[in-house]
Amino acid sequence: MTTETGKSRLIEDMKMHSGQDPNGCYQCGKCSAACPVSAALDLKPHQVLRYLQMGLENELAESKTPWVCASCFTCAARCPRDIDLARVMEGLRLSILRNRGGNKFGPAELTPEQLEKLPQQALVSGFRKYNK
């Protein structure tokens, strides 16, 4: 899904959530070299940044990497370009969830019991987040 300006909405959302700019990356790969779960990733951390630079949002949305990422922050600590890759991953997770559409937590899907037990605030915030 792209916005009117031709930009990827997923990637723009990621930038907004994380405050990180993938264009700062020069692909040295130090994040991937340091990542303790690198072996379990279908896209290595440096590839994620490259895909972000190239605007490959579908591939990113389907990648397991953001979900396998353990948020250990080693990548962020090592990055010579001062990019907080752990934030990028979190930003991606948020953007993917929020962009999935559909009524992930629509009120109709919840049982009356759930609706009664869950705090109002959690419900409202859940709808706001996932009901776009």
């Binding site: 020069y26 692909q27 040295c28 790969g29 130090k30 994040c31 991937s32 070299a33 340091a34 990542c35 690198s38 072996a39 290595k44 440096h46 590839q47 080693t74 090592r78 990055c79 010579p80 370009r81 001062d82």
Partner: protein, 661 residues
């Protein structure tokens, strides 16, 4: 009333495209005192200058205003044109209607009145301009070179060959610098010492060169042509006249300290020369480790020295000398990679920096030229080189590229293959940068003919395991994580400015960038000049660079110094500060703020009632004043005027703009 002429330049379409020239000329005719106004397509051309010269003569003009580009560009051109017509050049005023007007505006309707306002201001100021004379200053026909590495040696040799005296101040006991530490040089694999030592000897023997080793600059005063410098010659505790360099003292000396020249990889004696080809071959005693200086006993060197050259009573000596020009060539340091915990530098003897590895190759180095691991003395079979350690790193290191690492790494990998034929090298790189004659071919030779595996990627962690070092990296071209069980790791640590560069810059009076590399006056057109006249820079103190570039820059700096020294007299600054002593309250804030020590207190006598009052006021030495104006703005009683920019002149400009909109 002055007779002012106004000349407006089209600058092609640079000015005329945005400023209505005809309207501007017409408006100029109505300025007070203006008797002539004209325009031309390119006023800076010879034709344009002729127009000004002729008009001055024909119309008997005594003031000239030109509406052109910035005075930084062509003020001198127009001043010369005015002088040619017999007008004092300081009676000409430039209104910058290009950079300050046409280039920053798009709308002619708005730019034209602004250009007119700027011209009106310039005419108002010009009316108050006074004829000024630039003082003629003497030039001391001697140069000072700070730093005795290849840059300093080259600059000194060139200046000396032109027939001028040169002093080289080197803080270490020998000249030679970083180049003396190198094994071979890329891309030709010349032996570094073999090409450097003849130059060191030549410098030492040159009748015009005076070596001041183990010396530091303590103070620089004065200005171009007349720098008064205090040099501290540190006590060697060895009489250089008596010493024959026989070496008995350092053979017999019982105490040791880490060798600076060997990057701390081996020890030297407490009385030592840094390396075998040192120039001069006169040792120094390191007080911090010497038994005699620490505990008051030993004195073996003194007992053993055949010519009795040891002198424990020697003191630092201060040499005061005047120089016409100064070349700063203080070189570089290597970043200490300890800040990168993931590389484990300093925690294992087989993790080295590039410069340390260079010493491992050297026949007189810590391993006697055998390429072996420092941990167990065995030759390394797998060596991992990692590039950009602290370079191109805005998070924890330096944002710039260190420029030399790609090449020296390729060189070291080739040398390794020659010394240890069954060794395998791996180079982790981000980009390979090989700009330079024969450089790309050299690097490709390493990859294609010397079995060096180039991996595009970085290393995330290094740790010892059993008898090797585990290197975990990535090859970003296959996106595979790589694990290498290496015998040795070489870190291409960033080239950084000398630790004492900021202090030296302050001392000498030149500025530097945020990494403490000294700034050139213009990045393209003045690469060896600094913003301080008469002070030049050469070599890696300006930015990371290799030997050929350093040598070219050193020769360039030398030519600039020679050009300066060859002048009989220098033209000084005409726009100097002047104290109106009757108004001066003698607070001397100006003396404190003057960067050129041009202001001193003097006592004057004034008539007061029936008697005479003595009081202290400030006085400016016009030979020292560079016209910066700091004193004028500091002066609380407004009693300092900068000639050519007096308070009245500035106010006249402001009034001309503000009162006649």
């Amino acid at each position: 009333m002055p007779r002012t002429g106004v000349f407006i330049c089209h600058c092609g379409t640079n000015i005329a495209g945005t400023v209505d020239i005809d309207k501007t000329v017409e408006a100029s005719r109505n300025f007070p005192g203006v008797v002539h106004a004209d325009e031309y397509r390119y006023l800076c051309s010879e034709m344009g200058q002729d127009i000004i010269t002729k008009a001055i003569k024909e119309n008997d003009l005594d003031r000239v205003v030109v509406g052109t580009c910035s005075p930084r560009m062509h003020e001198n051109t127009f001043r010369k044109a005015a002088a040619e017509a017999g007008l004092n050049p300081y009676l000409l005023e430039v209104a910058n209607i290009r950079e300050h007007c046409s280039w920053v505006h798009k709308d002619m309707e708005e730019a034209t009145p602004k250009a007119i306002a700027l011209l009106r201001a310039a005419a108002a100021k010009a009316a108050l301009n006074e004829a000024l004379e630039a003082p003629r200053l003497d030039v001391e026909k001697r140069a000072l070179v700070i730093g005795g590495g290849i840059a300093g040696i080259q600059a000194a040799l060139d200046i000396a060959e032109a027939g001028y005296e040169v002093d080289i101040v080197e803080k270490d006991p020998s000249i030679g610098g970083r180049m003396a530490q190198l094994e071979k040089t890329f891309p030709t694999l010349d032996c570094s010492a073999c090409i450097l030592t003849p130059k060191m000897v030549e410098a030492a023997q040159h009748p015009n060169i005076n070596l001041l080793t183990y010396s530091e600059v303590d103070e620089v005063k004065g200005f171009v042509g007349q720098f008064d410098v205090k040099i501290r010659q540190k006590a060697r505790y060895v009489d250089p006249v008596k010493c024959t360099g026989c070496g008995i003292c350092w053979e017999k000396c019982p105490s040791k300290a880490p060798s600076e020249f060997e990057m701390g990889l081996s020890k030297r004696k407490s009385i030592y020369v840094p390396f075998a080809q040192a120039v001069p071959m006169v040792p120094v005693i390191d007080r911090d480790s010497c038994l005699y200086f620490r505990k008051g006993r030993c004195q073996i060197c003194e007992k053993e020295c055949p010519p009795q050259a040891i002198d424990y009573e020697q003191q630092d000596e201060i040499i005061e000398r005047r120089y016409g020009a100064i070349v700063v060539a203080t070189g570089f340091d290597q970043l200490d990679p300890t800040i990168y915990g993931e590389y484990g530098y300093g925690q294992h003897p087989d993790i080295l920096t590039g410069l340390e590895f260079e010493r491992i190759f050297n026949a007189s180095g810590p391993t006697g030229g055998k390429v072996v691991k420092l941990s167990d003395g065995k030759p390394p079979k797998k060596v991992v080189f990692i590039q950009c350690i602290g370079s191109r790193d805005k998070a924890r290191g330096m944002n710039y590229c260190s420029k030399i690492c790609c090449m020296y790494t390729a060189k070291q990998a080739i040398l390794l293959k020659e010394k240890v034929p069954d060794a395998k090298s791996y180079v982790f790189y981000i980009d390979v940068r090989t700009g330079g004659k024969g450089y790309e071919e050299f690097q490709r030779r390493a990859a294609e003919e010397h079995d060096v595996a180039y991996m595009r990627g970085q290393v995330g962690k290094i740790f010892p395991e059993d008898d090797h070092l585990v290197v975990r990296g990535i090859d970003s071209l296959t996106n595979r994580n790589i694990e290498i069980k290496a015998d040795m790791v070489v870190l291409a640590a960033a080239t950084v400015a000398r630790g004492d560069a900021p202090e030296l810059g302050r001392l000498v009076g030149i500025n530097s960038d945020s990494y403490h590399f000294f700034n050139e006056a213009h990045p393209k057109l003045k690469p060896v000049e600094t913003h301080t006249a008469g002070i030049f820079i050469a070599g890696a103190c300006q930015a990371p660079k290799d030997i050929p570039e350093t040598v070219s820059q050193a020769s360039a700096a030398a030519v600039k110094a020679i050009g300066l020294l060859s002048k009989e007299k220098l033209q000084g600054e005409a726009c100097t500060a002047e104290v109106i002593q009757s108004d001066c309250s003698g607070c001397l804030n100006c003396e404190a703020i003057c960067p050129y020590t041009a202001i001193t207190p003097v006592e004057i006598e004034e008539r007061y009632k029936d008697g005479v009052l003595k009081r202290t006021v400030a006085e400016v030495n016009p030979a020292l004043c560079q016209g910066c104006g700091s004193c004028a703005v500091t002066c609380r009683s407004g009693s300092i005027n900068l000639k050519g920019f007096s308070n009245d002149q500035i106010m006249a400009e402001v009034d001309a703009i503000c009162l006649q909109r």
